[in-house]
Amino acid sequence: MTERTDISRYAVRLGDDALILGHRVSEWTSRAPFLEEDLAVTNVALDYVGRARMFYQYAAELEGGDTTEDTFAYTRDARAFTNLLLCELPRGDFAHSVVRQFFYDAYALPMLQALKGSYDDRLAAIAAKAEKESTYHLRRGREWMLRLGDGTEESHARMQAAVDELWGYTHELFEVDELEQRLIDSGIAVDPRLFQHDWHDNVAGVLREATLSLPEADWSIRGGRTGHHTEYLGYLLAELQFMQRAYPGLKW
């Protein structure tokens, strides 16, 4: 396997994370609790979908031929998607979405900061652009964590339930397979294990401040990177891909 293929697959992974999470966030559009949050949350969704496009475009260039960004987004089935499971879980209630977003953004920011130093110039450039967005997302997310965690009895209970439910999905964020190890060795991919402790400290600190407790979950689940997804991804793709499936090659 050539390095070019490795980089393409790595870019698709990062693109898949962004597209699937962005789609989940976009499900709040017109359904957020109030107008200001509706616009804010939609901005976040757009940031993520835009990020997916940058990664897919790069992967498409590496693949060559007729492959485009749309090939990745619209013509693959669930088994071919390699996003982290955390990204595909249903949006749940607002607390659930806030916690998922915070867990992910607390991972995305150091990940992008490290990716800026990649030997691959294109990945480094995408990371530099996305880092600014993630800095803002994390700031927003942290405040929602505090506001709802240390809010009313009801909001606190919903936040704690979300934290407990999502915790087992966070281990996958820091696991590295052979593909990523090869790219880490050649200075192209990010080794998430390097900031795993910082992530944990950061998250634990915010949970404490938000009067939420750190779960002592004895379970963890993985599989997204190898295409073993939850039952939810298929439904998400059915909606996301409908137009291109019904009218292949359709353009705006």
Partner: protein, 94 residues
């Protein structure tokens, strides 16, 4: 929208060197959140380089009924306007 949300007025400076201008208002829980929503609601198309938010309740505003006592007395004091001066040559506006 929750009951305790407050109204904030939003001021944006569009370019360095210009003044902040009032652009509208929004609801938020606290000033920090108001600032972030101002970014999301009012600067989506790169409208600004600086944002101020002020709780609307903290603004003391003149009333319509103040007009007579506030502004009418100025009507007969034309010497306060610069309109009597002749513009120096080459100056378009003062």
């Amino acid at each position: 929208m929750s009951d305790h949300m407050q109204l904030y007025e939003v001021f944006i400076r569009s370019r360095r060197g210009l003044d902040h201008k009032h652009v509208g208002s929004l609801h938020a829980d606290d000033p920090e959140q108001a600032l972030e929503y101002a970014r999301d609601v009012y600067t989506r198309r790169s409208e600004g380089v600086s944002i101020w938010v002020v709780a609307s309740k903290d603004i003391t505003a003149s009333q319509e009924s103040d007009c007579e006592s506030f502004y009418d007395p100025l009507d007969d004091k034309p010497y306060r306007h610069a309109s009597m001066y002749e513009m120096p040559e080459g100056v378009d506006s003062l």
